[in-house]
Amino acid sequence: MPNVPTDPAPDLPVVARFEIRRRRYLDENGALMRPLPDSLAAPESITPLYRAMVLARTLDAKCVALNRQSRLGTYATAYGQEAVPIGVASAMRAGDVLVPSYRENAALIWRGVGIDEVLSYYAGSERGSDWAGPAHDFPTSITVGGHALHAAGAAYALQYRGEARAVACVFGDAATSKGDVYEAFNLAGVWRLPVVFVITNNRWAISTPLAKQTASETLAQKGLAAGIAVEQADGNDVVAVHEAVRIGLDRGRSGGGATLVEALTYRLADHNTADDARRYRDPAEVRAHEHAEPVGRVRRWLESVQAWSDARQAELEAACSAEVEAGVEKLFGAEPEPPSVIFDHLYAEPSAELARQRDAGLRAIAAEREAKRRG
């Protein structure tokens, strides 16, 4: 029910009406709710998405384990939300621009960024962000919402050059409380920018539930005031996310302007490895959402059309583990970097003062390290 009071003067003319639609294909049990879209109609077109989600889950589990062993810094998993990064990334073309937040590691990997490159950031170095993947994709945004404006600006750069490319930007439900995000929606509407904003509505912002974040019935409707196309998708249905984003990117590329997709999912995990959700969230609520998670339903559907088997599953799990282990091995096998990288990427040319600080600083750092080594 709408939580907005009804108008006390019903004789006043209605000047605008809005509606929000929700896109769904695969229900929780893997049953089809409506015909699959053309691009994903064949089981062979869905298995890569399924594989990518299993890889994402395998990687996240590994990263949590590495964090517990103090081998990796704070890490936010996408556990239970894998359909969002994979739905988004699989809908994009190579030339499109991804502007991710910190739960889109799987999207970066889909787009060709190495596992070791993605993890290098969480292991404490930016070096992986100079990745072999798409040079135009943005690094993971840690600040919440500021990158929505980068997406709008990037979309203008594509429009400026008359390129048939579009931008996909992903952020969480809490980001919609920020002015940055409204300002980005607004600009995208006024300038008809080729950008798709995707809200990963996982219902929780660390300990803050959605009800304390907004009184809005949907987050999708926050785009209506900006005059951009909006829809809600079942964020645990990778087909729905993929199709909603694909349509939005096509709209952008063909000059039809911006799109907002609210992907409804649920954060099954803690906010990140530094968080303990038992402090603020009833485990019964989590259990109630477990069955609706995105990976199992795809497997159930694939099995229902005889496109999957236990043997293929075992093979996939082994392959994902091997890929993750190889990435982790590469990460930890990399040569340590010299402290000079602190200075070397700030400007194209360092100022005289920065060069002085670099020289003096590197000598001081070497002395500190030497003293520590000697104990």
Binding site: E126, S129, D130, G146, H150, G153, Y156, L187, A348, S351
Partner: protein, 326 residues
């Protein structure tokens, strides 16, 4: 050579940069049809069209944040914040994103944007229209901050700022927009960032200033020269990177330093200048360093703003104090 105002010099530099590089575009509030509230972008819309001269919604965070996105994709946005006092929402984008995109991606992505804004007091404007903000910017590694005090420097420094591969905040002294006039050769020649201008040489005392305060500093230097003192007047022009060598070289000769700026005293960039001199030329000082600055107060409304701004008397008094010690 044509005599032009400082704001006209800004306009000429913008047009020249847009002429020579198709990736340069201008965006901000009222920069299009209106030509900017100070007319800095006048005529650009007619000449370069809406694609390259973009009026934006009224949102400073948006203007700066979208510019970061454009710059990261290879454009060279020159965005305008209408008054420096409105820059604070945009500081988030400058400090968290523009200044660190190169570091964050190890050089894969860069952020060659220029943020222009009129800065400083003295034009009888409403609240929030007269602030001096360079110290905030100086404390953000990865940014450059430049402020011209003559039309010639405005032209040359803005061209260099636009051509620079890293983000530059360009503070245009509002008070001098039409007050400062001088010859400008519209030849596309830039002036180097990070270099101070020794405006006049003198053997007895070094006077360092920048932006709008250069106006009164010049008058104070004139007055002291009338009293027989040799004042070496330096326009720092680049706050970051700061041309320490020029200032230290001068102070080592004169043994005396007066720093003048409009911004508040505590934590002002004058403190940085004084500290550098204390660290690296203390043995040559014949007098304590003098700072003539705004007060640690809110910028007064127009009735009292002249009392707030460092005036010629205050600067001249500081010069005399410095000269009296030995």
């Amino acid at each position: 050579m044509a005599e032009v105002t400082l704001v006209k010099a800004v306009n000429l530099a913008l047009a020249r940069a847009m002429e020579e590089d198709p990736d340069v575009l201008v965006l901000g509030q009222d920069v299009g049809v209106n030509g900017g509230v100070f007319r800095a972008t006048e005529g650009l819309l007619e000449r370069f069209g809406e694609r390259r001269v973009r009026d934006t919604p009224l949102a400073e965070l948006l203007i700066c944040g979208a510019s970061v996105g454009m710059a990261a994709q290879g454009l060279k946005p020159v965005c305008e914040i209408q008054f420096a006092g409105f820059i604070y929402p945009a500081l988030d984008q400058l400090a968290n994103h523009a200044s660190r995109l190169r570091t964050r991606t190890r050089g894969r992505m860069t952020c060659p944007l220029v943020l222009r804004t009129p800065a400083g007091g003295g034009i009888h404007a409403p609240e929030h229209h007269s602030e001096s903000i360079e110290a905030f910017l100086a404390h953000v590694p990865g940014l450059k901050c430049v402020t011209p005090s003559t039309p010639e420097r405005a032209y040359g420094l803005l061209l260099s700022a636009i051509r620079d591969p890293d983000p530059v905040v360009f503070l245009e002294p509002t008070r001098l927009y039409r007050l400062a006039k001088g010859p400008v050769e519209d030849d596309g020649r830039g002036l180097p960032l990070g270099r101070a201008f020794v405006e006049r040489e003198g053997a007895d005392v070094t006077l360092v200033s920048w932006g709008g305060a250069m106006w009164e500093s010049r008058a104070a230097a004139d007055r002291l020269e009338g009293e027989g003192a040799g004042v070496e007047l330096i326009d720092a022009a680049s706050i970051t990177p700061f041309d320490e060598d020029t200032v230290l070289g001068s102070v080592r000769r004169t043994g005396r330093l007066v720093v003048v700026h409009e911004a508040p005293y505590t934590g002002g960039f004058g403190a940085e200048v004084a500290a550098r001199v204390a660290e690296r030329a203390l043995d040559r000082l014949l007098a304590p360093v003098e700072r003539v600055t705004g007060f640690d107060t809110v910028m007064p409304l127009p009735k009292l703003e002249r009392d707030y701004l460092p005036g010629v008397e205050r600067i001249a008094a500081a010069l005399r104090r410095a000269l009296a010690s030995d």
